[in-house]
Symmetry: C3
Subunit: 363 residues, 3 copies
């Protein structure tokens, strides 16, 4: 697919200058750009490399002197990452060129596929499943019975959609995403050591060894509109009610969301985040990479946790935390600085003890 | 599948009251329950919502006044989660309705499938593999050559069972579980920086840059009876002997078990737990979410680690730990409280230094 | 496959003694070894168990008295793990016995497969993809359009290779590895709370709730020679330039490498390591299990991080770190010891305060 510089500028709602009829078929870093690439040089720092590439057109910062940079055309943007969203969407050539239903897909006769749905080879679609119009289902996917997928879904290869899952519009799933695994829920016939430890904060209280009985997941997963789930991420079915992900939330690779948990709207869960069961997460929450969240707590709207934080208790709305256990970021910084000084502090106390002892004895 | 209230009570070994011939086809939370649902209201707190639902039957706590709650029938249980196990098992409608061997499965002629085994589309079963009677193998699975799977296995879609794996009865694997990946085992021709750091606790001792040579995994994985492995979890082959998981142990999503490690009976490894190679884990051990275990240590029977703990040394039986590095939970709590007070402690010491200095000079 | 003791010794470049014509078909631990197994007893500790097995041949340490151990033949090695690499490579019987292109693979007519390539059932190979000679592509793999795979690749089942990926010689991918998922890259129309927190170190500065716009990944993944990627590990596509993994680097199971990140040569990334986007990692870097690396930093050549470390800032070459946040290992040890003594230190300060107060009042 090829666009003129003007078409790209119009799509971004941005100003353009120079020969805006130049044809663009790809984007590149300034030093790597060829004649039909749009160089991405949104700050003077990046523009320096334009000379070592062959770009004729670039995206620049407002009021940049494009002619002095040796360009034939330029687009000017104020918020570079926003421009990146628009330009990468236009120039994305996608993963496959599939069309229609591949002959090697196995689709239950009772499944309903909307207009323009494409299905890759070796995909299995179960009884009564419904796939919204315009969706592209990649190769090797499994879509369970009674699952509902909204319009314009994009499923990469080997994605699992469990039975009875309900998913909104424009869903994106990366390879190996698992929607609707069974929840991890077990019970012992008598009170277990874990239950005692939770009650006593550390004492098993003599619980004897027992085997685990399985609690099946009768619930499923409900996902809103505009959600994206990363490669090999997993979202478990609820026990009775559905596990839920709100509109606009994005889950990165290898994220785990436990059974019954509810994630609100427009949240970002970064790589390898792990959320236990029955957690309530508000809207616009951002959890950095490898954050962990203990079960049965809530995290208020707009809370932010730095990468690696382990959240062990409720967080109020807007709270910014870090650490294990996670505390306010400024508290963490204060504790951390004091820790670095701890060995010196210990030496100071030793010195003081001797001084006081000497003074005491000299009294 | 439909049951009467009496049938469910009998299965749970529980008392029932009222019109126990009422037909039940599903379970629901009290506020969501319809006329053919069994409402789960095992405590007075949950029972409050019965009024906003349409349940005619519910599971309640012992001696609950079911008639006052507007019900037509009730079942009474003392340990709610135990009842959940029984009732969810009865009412689980499963992921597929598959029967028999799908025409699009590829099964080696030398493989042996027991009576009543079903195999989903696009599953591959290797030479001499044996599948126990009553097993249901989902779509897109790969079962390696010489693998043995006990009776009544339940494999969701896209499960890998490596060559020569040996698995007991009633095995459950969630989507994308990987049994029998190769171990992560490499060696450098000369002593490496990592080996020196381990020996010296921090000093690379001038080791030079080298490339890594692969140690192949000749061992496989041995798994006992009644084991469940979560979505996208991975268990590596042993180097010479098998990596082993004992009877009754349950592994959650995205758990990693390294080569040669042996996990005992009835352990729970929660979401994203990572266990290095050559670890010996006893029976009834519970590791919370995101726990990490360093290689070549042992963890005694009944030990419990809170979520996020990093276990860097041997744990005796029954020990309850938390933190990084993991220490006794009460030690962790004590250290943590002291840390919170650290900035104040530092100020106290500063004040003391001034006071002592002044006293010293006034002597 | 069977070898004589002499053939194995020659392959290892090691000395052998006794009846070196003995036939070996497998390796075993000393206590488990049968008559055609090579027992691995590279230290006197392991050799003790030879008596309880039936081994006739073993690998021993230099100058071991093999006849006194009751053996008929022996091989002597100085660096046991190096010998393990050679002997396990020889005796590995592999995962499948596949040959040729399976009839149930779907291969685009424009794809180019080198000499001797085998392709398992249900694998999909896209337009213009090129597979190097001698490669074995397992079942259920997806190889995207325009992807290039070097000679002698070994792909286990259900591996994803994204469109436009470029991979060198002798690539090994464990089951469920995902090369070329889309990067996790989103932007809000206006400055977000996360951006403010990063700038202010903890203050959201009143950012309002917004939805996330997607930045597509136009880049792909470039991987060097002799790289191995573990089960269910994920490597994301770059935004514009490719995400890159250097020659000889090994990634364990469930490792995550974010978009634009560049990993150098001969690195080891152990189980569940998570690397954010735009990280620059040098050569010969070793990251222990569950290490996390924040985005946009660099890690110098030969740096080593202990398991569980969270690396939040640049690391110079050769640095050995531990902790959250990661600090020099000796600093971590010093801080940790001081922490363990913290409760006592706090009591000492209380005592001092009383003593000083008393001395002050008695002046």
């Amino acid at each position: 697919m090829t666009y003129t510089v003007q078409q790209i500028a119009d799509a971004l709602g941005a100003e353009a200058a120079g020969d805006t009829t130049l044809q663009i078929d790809s984007a590149a870093e300034p030093g790597d750009a060829g004649a039909s690439d749009l160089a991405l040089a949104m700050s003077p720092k990046y523009a320096e490399a334009l000379g070592s590439g062959a770009a004729r057109a670039a995206i620049l910062w407002p009021d940049a002197d494009w002619q002095a940079l040796g360009l034939k055309a330029a687009i000017f943007v104020a918020r570079p990452r926003m421009a990146m969203s628009g330009v990468t969407a236009m120039l994305d050539t996608g993963q496959w060129d599939q069309a229609g239903i591949h002959a090697a897909a196995v689709i239950d006769p009772s499944a309903e596929l909307g207009e323009g749905v494409s299905v890759g080879p070796f995909t299995v679609i179960g009884a009564r499943a419904r796939i919204g119009a315009g969706s592209a289902i990649g190769p090797h996917c499994t879509i369970g019975k009674d699952a509902v997928l909204g319009p314009d879904a994009r499923l990469r290869e080997m994605v699992s959609i469990g039975a009875r899952a309900t998913i909104g519009a424009r869903f994106i799933a990366q390879p190996g995403a698992r929607i609707g695994a069974d929840g991890f829920s077990f019970v012992t016939p008598e009170v277990s050591g874990v239950e005692n430890v939770r009650r006593t904060m550390g004492d098993q209280a003599g619980a004897r060894a027992q085997s685990w009985l399985r609690i099946h997941s009768l619930g499923a997963v409900t996902i809103g509109d505009d959600v994206e789930v990363g490669a090999n991420a997993t979202i478990d079915n609820g026990t009775i009610r559905d596990t839920a992900i709100g509109d606009g939330s994005k889950l990165d690779n290898l994220v785990h969301v436990g059974h019954n948990t509810r994630v609100g709207r427009d949240c970002l869960l970064c790589g390898q985040v792990g959320i236990s069961g029955s957690v309530e997460i508000g809207n616009n929450v951002v959890l950095g990479g490898q954050v962990g969240v203990v079960d049965n707590i809530y995290i208020g709207d707009g809370a932010i946790a730095a990468g690696g934080s382990k959240i062990l208790s409720n967080l109020p709305a807007g709270r910014v935390v870090m650490g294990y256990p996670a505390v306010r970021m400024e508290t963490h910084t204060e504790i951390y600085k004091a820790q670095r000084r701890l060995p010196r502090l210990a030496r100071d106390v030793e010195t003081l003890k001797k001084a006081v002892s000497k003074q005491g004895s000299s009294d």
